[in-house]
Amino acid sequence: MRILKYILRIVAVAALALLVWEVILENSVLREPGGVNSPILGRIMKPGIYLQGTEGYCKTWINSLGMRGAEILPKTAAEYRILMLGDSHTEALQVSDDKTFVHLLQTKLAQNTGREIRTINAGRNGASPAYYIHLSNFYHSFMDPDYVMIEINEDFTTHILDETREFYVKKEGAEYVTVTNFRDYYIWQMFPPLKIIKPFVAFSTFKIALDKIPMMLEQHRNHRASAGQECTPAVDYADIIDWTLKTLKNDYPGMAILYLALNKSESNVEALLKSSANKYGIDLLNMRDALSYYYQSHCQPVDGFYNTMPGTGHINEIGHTIVADCLADYFMRKVLR
């Protein structure tokens, strides 16, 4: 009886400590709101909450589609709607709402044209063209865009084939197809009995733990693995790039690609992308020159934050301004003439 009482007291004290951490994490940059499962969109961020990013210093509202910003209202007759699809660079949880290139573009175009122009930020962390292809009907019917700008970066070829993502592309016979993979937490796949804590995932303390433990285990495994590991064979991306651009053009006839090149030199993927874009008549806005010119002339990187590392990670406010300028210039010259 005494031992039971002692154990109960320890459990109660541990729970109290966890509760205090919950309060701390909920009110700090480590806040992890978790997500909800949408039958169409897969796992999206929990709607109706304020989210704080771990890079930069910004707090943003998550709408009912799990996207940043206000709810998307029905399109008015006079409205010209630009849908911005992309990954975390477009979603831009690192900068405040009025500093993202999507918002800056809207402001610039409205000022320059005097028209009612609305940009929709459909950026989604970890997204790749597989998402935009698979969800094209949803985007068309729900958002009714006049023009679509798709942001991709150097990693899009690996992301599009990554089977751990919600949507990915795989080859079936001679054809590529998009596949959905609405997965549960990795740790539940590893230890199914842990599903008992599923109702607690809404709490930051549990969410962070569920995200962190598999990463720690993975790191531990990598650390212990011998140095002489086999190299993964180089993948020929020509086919998949060609198929991606052809399908995107087919699904979104009025579209262009924003290529967010943050590496110093041009990669093989970039050369293939240029050639395919040319082949299918897709405008490719390559940001390399504009971004590197700014760094060279001002000695300030266009990516990274004070709480991460300048020159790495997501684009910062400077980067967003440069991208918005280039996009505004493109729309003024080519789309809204």
Partner: protein, 466 residues
């Protein structure tokens, strides 16, 4: 195996349980020795032979020094043991350094001395200093030789201090082996708290600051002067929290097993002079250098000039002890110079009336600035990088570059100031009892905090390389 790893926690619990279960004291010592060997072999089992060689040779020399009656005979045995220890250290740590230095001096001639691919055994500097002090203390009659080889082997290999100290004095550690080794709940309580404090320093402060310090020291030319200054200050905090965190974990581990280790740090960054800094920083090393180098060189007994020279020699060798690189020699030399200047100032120039608060502030600021500038040489990979950083810091050749006000630094500095303030006020840190609800809560709170706030990529302990 590092202290803040899952493997270490398991290993430590097993050792502690065995120490509790086993009744015979000698068997407990065997367990500790076997555990220490496993701990070291986890990194590289081949160097267990080195540990064995150092222990056997010094045990034998120690016995001979004690048993030899004639002073000259004692001296010969002492000299032989010191030469052996220094040869081991010199071969593993400094062979390639000296070969490289000689080769670079003889650039004009075509003669090239061959270098060797030598793996530096972890903790060799600490081990050799411990065995040297063992034989010297016997020679000086300060303590008796170890009761048996097992005891001396434990002095050399005892896992909490094996890799990065603190450097144990035989007179302090060996008597603890004569007593019954007992794991007491009170010690476990205190020990785990010291261990956790060290872990907080290492994981939450040092590892976080590493994300800022490493890139700036890797490419200082890319960063602005302000950022470089901040990175140097961050490094000063990082190395303190890294090394003192390690020491706390060592002291805490030893405490759990019933052993007392001496403190190695005493808030060094509140020092108001370089002399005070060395009384507070890496105390076990500075005490060792004083007892076994500075005093034998004559200390302050042979006139002022000789004293200044002795200070410089001690610090140059102390710098070289840290690593086989001219950067460490320069670092040591700078501290030697600082000590000389401070001594000179205290002896001849310091006005007696100057003891006001502004004077103390200026003294602290000057000491901190000096210590930080010296750290540049300690941290940089080579001279070229050191000079780029120094030039940037003092606005020579422009101050332009990436401006990066790392958030981690601005969070950590106030925390450090507050903890130092309370540390000064409280003296000994207050320990909690796990039987109390409050103590239990603190334990869980810290454990959860470490889990949630620890970065995934932990840096290795800085002092492991020495």
């Amino acid at each position: 195996m590092i202290f803040c790893s899952f493997e270490y926690i398991i290993f430590f619990i097993v050792i502690m349980l065995l120490t509790i279960i086993i009744r015979q004291n000698k068997a407990k010592k065997f367990v500790l020795l076997a555990g220490s060997c496993y701990f070291y072999a986890y990194w590289d089992y081949r160097f267990l032979l080195l540990l064995a060689g150092l222990s056997i040779a010094n045990y034998y020399a120690g016995s001979k020094i004690a048993s030899t009656q004639a002073r000259a005979g004692k001296k010969r045995w002492l000299a032989a043991s010191i030469v052996f220890d220094l040869m081991v250290l010199g071969f593993f740590k400094y062979f390639n350094f000296f070969v490289g230095s000689i080769n670079s001096l003889m650039l004009s001639s075509k003669i090239r001395l061959p270098s060797m691919e030598i793996i530096l055994p972890i903790g060799i500097s600490f081990m050799t200093f411990e065995v040297i002090s063992y034989t010297i203390d016997i020679y000086r009659g300060k303590n008796k030789p170890a009761a048996n080889l097992l005891d001396l082997s434990l002095l050399v290999t005892f896992f909490p201090h094996l890799i990065s100290g603190p450097i144990l004095k035989p007179g302090h550690f060996l008597p603890q082996l004569d007593r019954e080794i007992t794991v007491r709940w009170k010690n476990v309580e205190k020990g785990t708290q010291i261990f956790l404090l060290g872990m907080v320093k290492k994981v939450l402060v040092a590892d976080r600051l590493a994300f800022f310090v490493d890139p700036v020291f890797k490419a200082p030319q890319d960063y602005s002067s302000g950022t470089v200054w901040l990175a140097v200050i961050a490094y000063a905090i990082q190395i303190y929290c890294d090394f003192s965190g390690y020491t706390d974990m060592a002291i805490g581990s030893a405490k759990c097993l019933g052993f007392e280790f001496p403190p190695n740090f005493n808030m060094p960054y509140i020092s108001k002079s370089i002399s005070e800094f060395w009384r507070r920083w890496h105390i076990s090393l500075s005490t060792w250098l004083k007892d076994y180098l500075y005093i034998p060189l004559g200390g302050n007994r042979k006139g002022k000039l000789r004293q200044y020279m002795n200070l410089m020699i001690v610090m140059l060798l102390g710098g070289l002890w840290h690593g086989a690189s001219w950067n460490f020699v320069i670092w040591g030399g700078l501290h030697g110079l600082g000590l000389m200047i401070h001594k000179l100032y205290s002896d001849y120039l310091r006005p007696r009336a100057f003891s006001s608060r502004p004077y103390a502030c200026v003294s602290w600021l000057l000491t901190m600035a000096f210590v930080c500038v010296a750290w540049v040489f300690f941290r940089s990979t080579d001279f070229a990088v050191s000079f780029i950083i120094i030039k940037k810091m003092f606005l020579i050749g422009g101050s332009k570059g990436i401006t990066w006000y790392a958030t981690s630094l601005f969070v950590i500095i106030p925390v450090l100031i507050i903890s130092h303030y309370f540390g000064l006020k409280l003296g000994d840190p207050p320990y909690v009892r796990y039987e109390n609800t409050w103590g239990c809560f603190v334990l869980f709170f810290v454990l959860f905090g470490l889990f949630y706030l620890a970065p995934l990529n932990s840096s290795p302990f800085i002092y492991f390389q020495f």
